[in-house]
Amino acid sequence: MINGISIGIVIVLVGIYGILTRRNIIKMVMSLYIMNSGVILLFVSIGYIVGGQAAIFENSKKLMVDPLPQAVMLTTLVIGLGITALALALAIKIYDEYKTLNTRKLLEK
């Protein structure tokens, strides 16, 4: 059934496919970020309760969705941001030094 968890897994798999088959470094970084996003979606969906309320209000009468994954995923988002920024910076540096972004050509240099 289609819920956040299964879509999350599909996105992770897409990311894995991307990182395994793409030869362009930038595409690899993108796949990495896709994998990260997939896991974030998965984690948040785990805490989801159908019909629950967003975890912002106090004193609510309805059931709240689990706030822990949301807090945790904020942290993960920021970490993913940092890592991706670093990876892209390294990719730029690699292009400066080697003039290519292809992993096969980088192997020979």
């Binding site: 992770v12 990311g15 894995i16 990182i19 470094i25 690899m28 970084v29 990495l32 994998m35 990260n36 997939g38 896991v39 998965l42 984690f43 785990i46 822990l68 994954p69 945790v72 942290t75 993960t76 970490i79 940092g82 890592i83 670093l86 990876a87 390294l90 990719a91 540096k93 690699i94 030094e97 080697y98 980088l106």
Partner: protein
């Protein structure tokens, strides 16, 4: 003091900011002073807890007063104390080594402190997501540190390290997600207590979580198919960073493996099969690392492959999962961290003095650098496992553990591993003692090597012999650690 665990982690982090602020104080070498001071402070705090730990009790600390399983827990028990002690010791050594190299500036020390506080965080925490966060902190710092000298190959190596670690780490996050979904908590002790129940109802999920975590920690520690980032990363980075990588980061991956596996999966039946798996992977790592080291010409790359091989030894010891095997494994973790750190220091001194990094160009060095060559000889003998060095004691425990288990396959491959280790280290020693006169490159200026670098190398070489002659001290500190792992 009550807040000691969190202070141990936070003081280096604060020191990061302080090192950048020293720009305005006009204190010469202010950054170094701040770095050393913060490490010493953490060390003292850790040692103050020492007496409680060795007597067997653990110290718990709840962040912000929120009790587990709601809040994040830090705890110092035997295993954490043991690891934190040698991490701080070796971290201090690395900083001392870097003191002698003048081009390292505030940026370097702040990054190093970030990495060290990340390592301490991993060791002291009891919340699995917290461990993930600290691992990422460590990882970011190490990616930047590898490329500190802006060498092109270093950038390529760092990128490879980044992609490999991060993709495996996504798997780790996935495992955390699955565990959270099943248990509703992120606290390691709570998850462990529910694990056996989960295993009864749903063993496949436990297998999935186990393999994902093993891949994640395997990349960090250098298990067989996941070790390919290590040679380039360790050889292209600047010397103190190589020691950091080889001596500490590999070991912290092993710590995570030990903690997570023995805590989570020790109670379940999974452990029997998993232990064998780790054993065989360890054997392959051991032999593969040694074989590849045999044919390397670059000195630092050879030391990196040697690291992989020794991690294989430790994995074999962990895989044996007996009291004796874990004793040997933990002892070898400490020994190898010390020895490999000092070996990289020696290599760094030699490379900065000669300008070459291939062994075939380093012939006959012993006339110019007798002290460093002598230290290198002692350290290589320690890695191979010759008495009376500390490497011999740990190897003896591991061989004895394998014999007690009657695991003859392991014995034969350990045998082969020790021989191959001896072969490639003696190849280097032969090159150093070669009668050919050593010639610099024509326009090379040797960088000045100060007393700090020599001091750190000789201190560790001496320490190796000392620990080898009196292993009881380390064994006493290891006892509480072993009790944690195998109660």
């Amino acid at each position: 003091m009550a807040h000691a665990p969190i202070l141990i982690i936070v003081i280096p982090l604060l020191a990061v900011f302080l090192t950048h602020l020293t720009k305005y104080i006009r204190l010469r070498r202010g950054a170094e002073i701040v770095a050393v001071a913060s490490m010493l402070a953490s060390l003292i705090l850790l040692l103050s807890m020492g007496s409680t730990i060795i007597s067997g009790k653990a110290i718990q600390y709840d962040l912000g007063g929120w009790p587990a399983p709601i809040g994040i827990n830090l705890a110092v028990d035997g295993l954490s104390f043991f690891f934190a002690l040698f991490v701080l010791g070796i971290g201090l050594l690395i900083i001392v080594y870097s003191l002698g190299i003048y081009q390292y500036a505030r940026r370097y020390y702040s990054l190093l402190l970030i990495a060290l506080s990340g390592i301490l965080g991993i060791i002291l925490t009891r919340d699995i997501f917290n461990m993930y966060v600290f691992f990422e902190i460590l990882a970011v710092a190490s990616y930047v540190l590898i490329t500190y000298k802006r060498k092109p190959r270093a950038i390529k190596a760092s990128f490879k390290y980044l992609i490999m670690t991060e993709s495996a780490w996504v798997l780790f996050l996935l495992a955390i997600a699955i565990l959270y979904g099943l248990t509703g908590t992120l606290n390691m002790d709570s998850i462990a207590s529910q694990m056996s129940m989960i295993y009864q109802t749903n063993p496949q999920v436990v297998y999935l979580v186990f393999s994902m975590m093993m891949i994640a920690f395997g990349v960090k520690c250098g298990m067989f198919p996941l070790h390919t980032w290590i040679p380039e990363a360790h050889s292209q980075s600047p010397t103190p960073v190589s020691s950091l990588l080889s001596g500490l980061i590999l070991k912290v991956g092993l710590y995570a493996m030990l903690r997570v596996f023995f805590l989570f999966f020790g109670a379940t039946l999974l452990w029997q099969g998993a232990g064998q798996l780790i054993l065989y992977l360890g054997i392959i790592t051991l032999v593969l690392g040694a074989c590849l080291a045999l044919v390397q010409d670059e000195l630092k790359k050879l030391l990196a492959y040697s690291s992989i091989s020794q991690i294989g030894f430790i994995l074999v010891a962990i895989g044996l999962s007996t009291q004796l095997g874990l004793k040997g494994g933990l002892f070898h973790i400490v020994n190898h961290a010390l020895i490999k750190t000092a070996l990289f220091f020696c290599a760094g001194i030699i490379i900065s003095q000669t300008g070459f990094w291939k062994i075939s160009n380093m012939k006959g060095i012993w006339r110019q650098m007798p002290g460093v060559t002598f230290a290198f000889c002692i350290l290589s003998l320690a890695v191979i496992g010759i008495p009376p060095s500390n490497g011999f004691v740990s190897k003896m425990f591991i061989i004895q553990a394998a014999l007690t288990e009657m695991n003859y396959v392991a014995i034969i491959f350990i045998f082969a591993g020790i021989l191959l280790t001896a072969a490639y280290y003696f190849r280097i020693i032969q090159a150093f003692f070669s009668p050919e006169e050593f010639r610099h490159k024509p326009d090379f200026v040797p960088q000045p090597v100060g007393p700090f670098e020599h001091l750190s190398t000789y201190v560790v070489a001496f320490l190796c012999l000392l620990i080898g002659l009196f292993p009881g001290v380390v064994a006493n500190i290891m006892q509480p650690a072993l009790k944690v792992l195998l109660p």
